[in-house]
C-alpha cells in the first residue's frame, strides 16, 4: 500500500498534471479557433475535395486486404517483442542460460517471420 502511494505521488501526479495542462491547451485552442473564425458555409465548400471535380461515390469503400494483414502481423510481432523487453532488462542477471533460452525464442520468432515472408504476406506489387 505504501509503495503504491509513493509511486502514485511521485509518478502519476506529475503525469496527471501534464495531461491536464495539455488537454486545457488543446480544448482552449480548438474553442478559440471555432469562436474567432468566420462561418460562411456554402454547399460547394462543404463537399469533399476531389481535385475540383464532383465527388464520386462514398470514400468508405473496402480497401486492400494487405493493410489488414500488415496490421495483424504487427500485433503478432509486437507481442513477441514485448516478451523480449523484461528479458533485456534482466539480461545481466540471467547470464548465458537466459541468453540460450531467449535464443531459442528468437529462432522460433525468426522462423515464423520467414514463413510469413515466404507466404507473400508482404508482397505489395501484385
Amino acid at each position: 500500500m505504501m509503495i503504491f502511494l509513493v509511486a502514485f505521488t511521485k509518478y502519476l501526479i506529475p503525469l496527471i498534471i501534464q495531461l491536464l495542462v495539455v488537454l486545457g491547451f488543446v480544448f482552449t485552442t480548438v474553442a478559440a479557433s471555432q469562436y474567432l473564425g468566420p462561418k460562411r458555409k456554402t454547399a460547394g465548400k462543404l463537399e469533399s475535395f476531389e481535385s475540383g471535380l464532383d465527388a464520386v461515390g462514398n470514400a468508405r469503400v473496402p480497401f486492400s486486404v494487405k493493410y489488414f494483414l500488415a496490421a495483424i502481423l504487427f500485433v503478432l510481432f509486437d507481442v513477441e517483442i514485448i516478451f523480449l523487453y523484461p528479458w533485456a532488462v534482466n539480461f545481466k542477471e540471467l547470464g548465458w542460460q537466459g541468453f540460450v533460452e531467449m535464443l531459442m525464442f528468437i529462432v522460433f520468432f525468426t522462423l515464423g517471420f520467414f514463413y510469413v515472408l515466404k507466404k507473400g504476406a508482404l508482397k505489395w506489387d501484385d
Partner: protein, 344 residues
Amino acid sequence: MGGFLLSKTILIVIIFVITLVIAMYSTILERKFAAWLQDRIGPNRTGPGGILQPLADGVKMFMKEEIIPANAHKFLFIMGPMLAMTTALMASVVIPWGKSLKIGDFVMDLQVADLNIGILYVFGVVSIGVYGIMIGGWASNNKFSLLGALRASSQMISYELAMSLSLVAVIMSTGTLSMGEIAAQQSGWHWNVFTQPLSFIIFIICAFAETNRTPFDLPECETELIGGYHTEYSSMGLGFYLFAEYINMFISSAVMATIFFGGYNMPFLDQLGLAPNVEALIGTAFFFGKIAFFILFFMWVRWTIPRFRYDQLMNLGWKVMIPLALVNILITGSVLILRDHFNF
C-alpha cells in the same frame, strides 16, 4: 508535498512552453533552411529577417474558417487532430532535461516523472498517435484522406516493430528502461552510440518513418494524395496536424539524444570545477544543442533524399530493418556474455 507539486507544475509549464516555442520556430527554421539549400531567401517580411513568421502563421490558423465537410463524421473529425496533438505533447514527460538543481535545501529534478518503464511509455504514447491520423483520415470521408491514413498507419506500425527491436539491444547493456538512469549512465564520453552504432542507425531511420518525414512522407505526399490524411482539414485542425509533426520531431530528437548521445552529459564538464547548479544548466543547454542538431538533420535529409515508393518502404521496414535489429540483439548478447565470461 506542496513544494513537490509546485516544482513539478512549474517544470511542466516551462517544458510545455519550450516545446511549443521550439515546434513553432522549427517551422520557420525549416523554411529558412530549405531556402538556403535552394539558394533562395525564404520568408523575410514579418519582423526582422522573418523572425515573427511563426506568430503570424499561428494567428492566421486561428482566424480561418473551420470547414467540416457535409458527409464527414463530425465528432471524429474534430477529435482526430486533438488526439494527435495530445499524444505528441504527452511524450515529453519522461525525458530528463538535465541534472537536478539545488535551490536552498530544495532539490528540483529536471525531469517530470522518471517512470521506471520510461521507454515503454514513449512507445505507448507514440502508438496512440496513429489513432489521431487514422481517425482524422477516416472521418473526412475523402478518398485521398483515407488512402493517406491507411498508408500512415501501416507505415507507422511497421517501423514501430523495428524501432522497439533496435532498443532491446541498448536495454540489454544498460539494464534499465528508465530514461533518467540511461542518461545518468552515459556520463562523460560513455555515450551509447559508440557501443550500439547499428541500433542507433536503425532507430534514426525508424524515427523518420514514425514522424512521417521525407524520405518516408508517403502519407502526405502532395503529388499523389493532395494533402494525405489532412486534405479536408482547415484552420486549427490542420494547424494541429502540422504542429504535432514538428513536436514529434522535437520529441524523437530528444529521445535519440537521451538514449544514444548521452542526454545532458557533456564531456569534461565535471573537470572545470563549476558550481553544481551552473554545471546542470550548461548540461541542459548542451542537451538542447544536441536536439537542435537532430532537428536540423531531419530538415537536411528532407532536401537531400527523394521519397521512397510504397513497396520499397514496406520492404525496407520488414525485410531489412527487423532482421538487422535481430542480428544486432544476437551480437550484443554474445559480446556481453563473452565479456562477462572472460572479464575483458
